[in-house]
Amino acid sequence: MTTQIKLRDCAKTFTDGTRALAPFDLTIEGGETIVLLGPSGCGKTTILRMIAGLEFPDKGGVITFDGDDVTHQSIEKRRVGMVFQSYALFPNMTVAQNVAYGLKVHGVSREESDARVKAMLEMMHIEMLADRAIDQLSGGQRQRVALARAIAVQPRVLLLDEPLTALDAKLRVRLRTEINALLRKLGITAVYVTHDQEEAMALGDRIVVMQKGEIAQIGTPREIYCKPQNPFVADFVGAANLLDGQMRDGRLHIGNHVFDAVDAFDPRHGAIIDQGPVELFFRADGLSTCDAAHAHFTGRVEAVSYLGERLRLTVSGIGMHAVMIDTHADDIITAGADVHCQINPDRLTVFPARGDSTTAVSQAR
């Protein structure tokens, strides 16, 4: 009973001529949770609104729900459930009336509607709020009501547009866990938009990383995290450290050091890189501190931040830009000191060098 959604050749140009989305194809399997992830302005919300029927693709684009062409159908007809960042609850109605609204529109009988509202509120653990006015609720409570309202009408797809962004950090994690459990329980097809990488990892069966109106990568959270296919994705999922290197006969040269057995795969050409300049992306665990004898590099500590379980150093003098290195929390290191470090080659993601497009990535962030 789950709905498969297909978008074919969908592009979006706004009336003022700006290209919001380049033509793309996307298939969302029935019951799957897809997360659209990217920085603001990348087009992720536009895709969500296209599926909802609030935006329409440029001519040539086709959207189908289980094979039914819904491209020109308005949102009222599509049976989608929507959850908004700022809730969009009706302030003139109580919690129960909000949840019952869609049922009333769809002509569900009074008794059935009452029963369904009760079940929804219980599922979201807010049955005690049924008769409250919306302006008496906290942000977390409001979003629960919004979820209950959206799923009450048994939509073909549940669309969530940054539903947790307006909430504080602790509540965000708690509600995220609940939404995850809810989506698994309902087995409903869901599209979730966020700019938060952690949220995307926690919720998505698959993640679609977006960059400037184009899909940068589609993959499971593990693929996105461990095998980013391009520098943008690598950077966006947290591998923000960058070093330059050279591939010579399949071996990686960084400065005077040579490393074997590094996977250097060029996703754009689908081939192993044997020769030529490369860029190395890695997280804070790609380098580790060591004694002078084993050091690949020596750099200068610019800043130290205490993260509780570890210490994060900002080190200059290794690459073009400063890099982040994590070390033990009980190490005593102060800014201004020299630090020796070692590369962990298996933690590197290697891409062919892009020339001066490096700056474009840091700007996109």
């Binding site: 909802a52 009706f90 302030p91 609720l137 906290s138 409570q141």
Partner: protein
């Protein structure tokens, strides 16, 4: 806490200024129920003048109320959708329209009335009916309704509320009447009271547009001041007060309630 001379001098000044404004009102009201105003209160109190005014001007008073109600109906039916369009589709055209709409408030009522007379004065059936005055009142009060409703509408996120309702299957009219209108209620109520109050009290325009058979309350008031004894004029004022005061108080109460609601939203805390 001991209060110093500054406090008492300020208090004194405030009381004197208040009296300066309030005393004429009281005097006028008293005059309306005094047997002979030139002899003063010693001549005794009476309802005679009020009854006389009621007998003489019932038609004017009722006409005023009738026009105010019809004017309210017209401004509601046109003003609420108009405010919706202005807020929902902002652009150069709607901006221009808004300016045009506000124009009747800025130009003197006399000029507006003259324009109506020049244009429609020859249409005899229309010129001599109360509909002619109604036209003037609608032109004059519509901007107040639109402004008041538009202010509330722009404070709520109508686009998002509508998208939420639409995702639940509600078509345009259902959204408009079940979500937009109920949430714009404070603005609509405030606008409605404003329209009724302005329409009942409108003199400028009405004085130019009225005929002997279509006299409204304020026109009758001017008539009473000009041609009858002072007690009658004052009694008339009293009746006018009784009609208009509840409206003003209701307006104030509504404004206060609006403030309380927004305060409650701010203090709703995150517990779940």
């Amino acid at each position: 806490m001991r209060r110093d001379w500054k406090f008492y001098s300020q208090l004194g000044l405030t009381i004197v200024l208040c009296l300066f404004i309030v005393v004429p009102v009281v005097m006028s009201a008293l005059a309306g129920v005094t047997v002979n105003v030139f002899q003063g209160l010693s001549s005794g109190l009476t309802f005679r003048w009020i009854i006389e005014v009621w007998d003489l001007y019932t038609a004017s008073i009722l006409l005023s109320l009738w026009i105010a109600l019809v004017c309210l109906a017209v401004t509601l039916v046109t003003g609420v959708p108009l405010a919706y369009v202005l807020v929902r589709r902002p652009g150069r055209l709607t901006r221009l329209f808004e300016e045009l709409l506000t124009l009747p408030v800025a130009i003197p009522g006399l000029a507006l009335a003259l324009a109506l007379l020049i244009t429609y004065g020859g249409v005899s059936g229309y010129r001599s009916s109360w509909l002619f005055i109604l036209t003037g009142h609608v032109l004059f009060t519509l901007p107040f309704m639109v402004r008041s409703v538009a202010a509330v509408m722009s404070a709520m996120d109508m686009k998002m509320l509508e998208e939420g309702a639409a995702s639940l299957g509600a078509g345009f009219w259902r959204r408009f009447f079940t979500v937009i209108v109920p949430n714009a209620k404070p603005g609509i109520l405030a606008g409605a009271l404003m329209v009724v109050t302005l329409s009942i009290g409108e003199f400028n325009l009405t004085w130019m547009l009225h005929t002997p058979l279509t006299k409204t309350l304020p026109v009758g008031l001017a008539d009473a001041y000009a041609s009858m004894r002072l007690e009658i004029g004052s009694a008339y004022t009293l009746i006018f007060f009784v009609l208009i005061m509840p409206l003003l108080i209701a307006m104030q109460t509504l404004a206060d309630r609006g403030k309380r609601v927004s305060k409650r939203i701010e203090t709703a805390e995150d517990t779940l």
